[in-house]
């Protein structure tokens, strides 16, 4: 007997696979209720009694065809790996839709155990599932579980351990009444075949005859074949990958694809199952439908989304700023304490300045934005886990379609509100390279969280009570620019092949606190790590280039290497109202990470606590002396939003595009767009203000 049992978790998107996987393995894998979150398989280990279960979490799929990357990955895993048992996770509240994949999995011939998840929702809706009849009709064990409440987990693995060596231990009792009704001349009990006792899904006689015939051919030609019936069905569907692997002379057997008939007969059987096992199915709670009637309304959907995002930024600003006060006081005290300590120990001006004006000002300035970042991610996680974000993708589908992009392209753009790196990576789930490249080109325009400190600082410095509005406008501008660029590209390129968005709109639910906390903690950890590494190093480098020049260490920054570099590029940014060498240096350093634009201002102007009211007042005064006002600040925010993405994003673009030429194009293109839009904003604004 094998010590290890390999278990594949397979199911539709949003059925709770990753939550179940996390419950078993204790992993903190990203859980989200939109497709494309799990874009590769994940492995983990769970020990139960004397068994060691190797669990594999696979991407959510609706069928085992080979049209999408997720379907191909899952199918290849089942066919080519040593999986012992497939755990088919099924959303019990959407049993009818989930059963299609179940039937396909059973047909594959490997042992299947059904984990009937979300039974609590079924109960809440007043429905009941006949747990005796369902396994009887499917011929596989069915175990009710709750991934969220962690119930039924041991029983599921117990069943897996027992079921691994026998995949059809139930006595099948089903009739395929619907197929028989649609097949004139053949009553269900008149099937010539005895397949009802052997297989879960039995097609009409015409198809069964052909399956038998092809199976025999396959066995004769490819003796080693494990499941000739499944391969025969795939050949009848003219499945390209199976036909390529097992070439067969089809003349005289299959003249055209039987895919439609096979699908229809599967759905007939599903209808039959639902009629027999689902009690009170019409009692479905209509609350989700009622909410969706408003939130996904053709005309109201988009304005509601914009209002919700405005509320998110209201929270980010108001509550974030309230908490930020404490951080500022701590930073001020720490900065003063460090200066006092270094002076006491006679560390010298060089070290004191490097540590206090360079490191503490640079890193500390960024850390004070932690409350804002925390609130932003908390709100985004809440929206995502409640089920709303999937609706946003659905709302945007029509608009994206008009731009020649798949509605699915908006999913990476939504992820881009958090961080552009995973957003770019999510674009690989798009069906073709053309869509993928166009999405990569526009995704960096979405305002990531790293730009938030720039907006918070400059909007509060120059826009007073309209600060939130100014910052929020950046998010809107990012979406608008992305849409305009996609539109412009659509006119110049071929017409879209018509990839439509197939997205499941999950039930609205109270967000899971654990899921939200994991998500927010990961983001906070990421922010702190970045502050302690990239921003630390960048602050030190900036301090050096601003304190050293051709004659060695300088007391006047205008003689430094930084100033020389900034002056060279001043004329380029002057039309956008950004013709100050200090601004140029800050923007260049922002390519390492966007937050560094803020820490650069700390270092550039020797402001230890830049986010405190006194720090902001000092910076406003200094900038004012250079004629830098509200319009310049807005142009700076626009430029920061649109210009060359950060180094991490550039790296991931290079890897996803696999082309240095394309990566350079993205960098230059974004720089050009940033310059164009910020110049337009500044020049047009100058006419009015």
């Amino acid at each position: 007997m094998k010590d290890e049992i390999q278990v594949g978790f397979i199911g539709n998107p949003n059925c709770g696979k990753t939550t179940l996987f996390n419950a078993y393995t204790g992993a903190n894998l990203k859980v989200a209720n939109w497709p494309g979150v799990t874009v590769e398989k994940k492995e983990g280990v769970f020990k139960y009694h004397n068994h060691r279960f190797k669990l594999v979490d696979l991407p959510g799929i609706y069928s085992l065809t080979s049209y999408t990357m997720e379907e191909r990955l899952t199918r290849e895993y089942i066919l080519n790996s040593n999986v012992d048992v497939i755990v088919n996770i099924v959303d019990a509240s959407s049993l009818e839709r989930n059963l299609y994949l179940t039937l396909q999995l059973i047909e594959l011939g490997k042992p299947v155990v059904m984990a009937l998840n979300m039974m609590d929702i079924v109960e809440e809706r007043g429905m009941e599932i006949d747990l005796h009849r369902l396994p009887e009709m499917l011929g596989i064990p069915v175990v009710p579980v709750s991934a969220r409440k962690k119930t039924g987990l041991d029983i599921l693995m117990h069943t897996v351990a027992h079921h691994r060596s026998k995949h059809m231990d139930q006595n099948l009792e089903h009739h395929h009444l619907k197929s028989a009704e649609k097949d004139p001349g053949h009553k269900h009990h008149e099937h010539r075949h005895e397949h009802h006792m052997e297989y879960t899904v039995v097609y009409n006689d015409k198809i069964e005859d052909k399956i038998d015939e092809i199976s025999e051919f396959l066995q004769r030609k490819y003796g080693e074949m494990v499941n000739p019936r499944w391969h025969a069905i795939k050949i009848m569907e003219l499945d390209e990958s199976v036909l390529k692997k097992y070439p067969l002379e089809l003349k005289g057997i299959v003249y055209n694809s039987y895919e439609e008939e096979i699908i229809n007969q599967k759905y007939d059987f599903i209808e039959e199952i639902i009629e027999e096992v689902l009690v009170n199915k019409n009692k479905k709670a209509a609350s989700t439908d009622k909410i969706d009637r408003i939130l996904t309304h053709r005309y109201l959907g988009l304005p509601i989304f914009l209002l919700i995002m405005a509320f998110v930024f209201f929270l980010t600003f108001q509550i974030g700023d309230f908490v930020k006060g404490g951080f500022e006081v701590t930073l001020g005290a720490f900065s003063s304490g460090a200066r006092y300590f270094l002076t006491t120990i006679h560390a010298g001006n060089f070290i004191t300045s490097l540590l206090v004006d360079g490191v503490i000002a640079g890193v500390g300035g960024i850390l004070t934005f932690l409350p804002n970042i925390f609130i932003l991610f908390l709100a985004l996680a809440y929206l995502e886990d409640s089920g709303y974000m999937s609706r946003v993708a659905y709302i945007m589908d029509g608009i994206m379609g008009k731009l020649g992009l798949s509605g699915r392209a908006f999913i990476p753009m939504l992820l881009g509100f958090g961080c552009t790196v995973p957003a770019i990576m999510a674009s690989r789930s798009l069906e073709n390279m053309r869509d993928s490249r166009r999405t990569i080109l526009i995704t960096p325009f979405m305002s990531c969280s790293a730009r938030l400190p720039i907006y918070v600082l400059f909007s509060q410095m120059f826009f007073g009570k309209y600060a939130m509005l100014a910052a929020y406008s950046m998010y809107l501008l990012g979406i608008i620019v992305a849409i305009l660029v996609a539109f412009a590209m659509n006119n110049k390129s071929d017409k879209n092949v018509g990839n439509t968005l197939l997205i499941e709109l999950p039930e609205y639910k109270s967000p899971n606190i654990r899921t939200i906390l994991i998500y927010v903690w990961e983001k906070v950890k990421e922010y702190l790590t970045k502050a302690g590494t990239t921003i630390f190093a960048a602050s030190v480098i900036i301090w050096f280039i601003l304190n050293f020049g051709t004659s060695g260490m300088v007391t006047d920054m205008s003689q430094s290497f930084g100033a020389m570099l900034g002056r060279m590029l001043e004329p380029v940014l002057a039309p956008a109202g950004l013709g100050m060498w200090q601004v140029v240096v800050a923007l260049i350093s922002g390519i390492a990470a966007k937050e560094i634009v803020v820490s650069s201002f700390s270092v550039l102007f020797h402001i230890g606590n830049i986010t405190s009211p006194s720090g902001m007042a000092s910076l406003t005064d200094i900038l004012g002396q250079y004629g830098f006002g509200a319009l310049n600040a807005y142009a700076l925010m626009v430029f920061s939003l649109l210009y060359t993405p950060c180094a991490a994003t550039i790296g991931v673009i290079q890897r996803e595009m696999r082309s240095t030429k394309w990566t350079l194009f993205v960098i230059i293109f974004q720089l050009g767009i940033a310059l164009l839009v910020s110049t337009l904003v500044y020049q047009i604004g100058s006419l009015f203000f």
């Binding site: 903190n28 894998l29 990203k30 979150v37 799990t38 874009v39 590769e40 994940k42 270094l342 120990i345 006679h346 560390a347 010298g348 060089f350 070290i351 490097l354 540590l355 490191v359 961080c419 790196v421 995973p422 990576m425 999510a426 690989r428 994991i518 998500y519 990961e522 983001k523 950890k525 990421e526 790590t529 970045k530 590494t533 990239t534 630390f536 190093a537 030190v540 480098i541 990470a593 950060c646 180094a647 991490a648 550039i650 790296g651 991931v652 290079q654 890897r655």
Partner: protein
């Protein structure tokens, strides 16, 4: 003396960060962090 030590620690740590970042970049690991929750982690990291 303490000043030199503090300076050396800061510069040493900065050098280490630059070395690690450039090494990661060459190895194709260009994520900005937070990889543990990323669904595509396996594409960048072998473990």
């Amino acid at each position: 003396m303490i000043g030199i030590m503090i300076g050396a620690v800061i510069l040493g740590y900065t050098g280490y960060i630059i070395y690690r970042k450039s090494k990661d970049l060459k190895a194709g690991k260009s994520c900005c962090g937070g990889c543990s929750s990323c669904a595509s982690k396996g594409k960048c990291h072998s473990n």
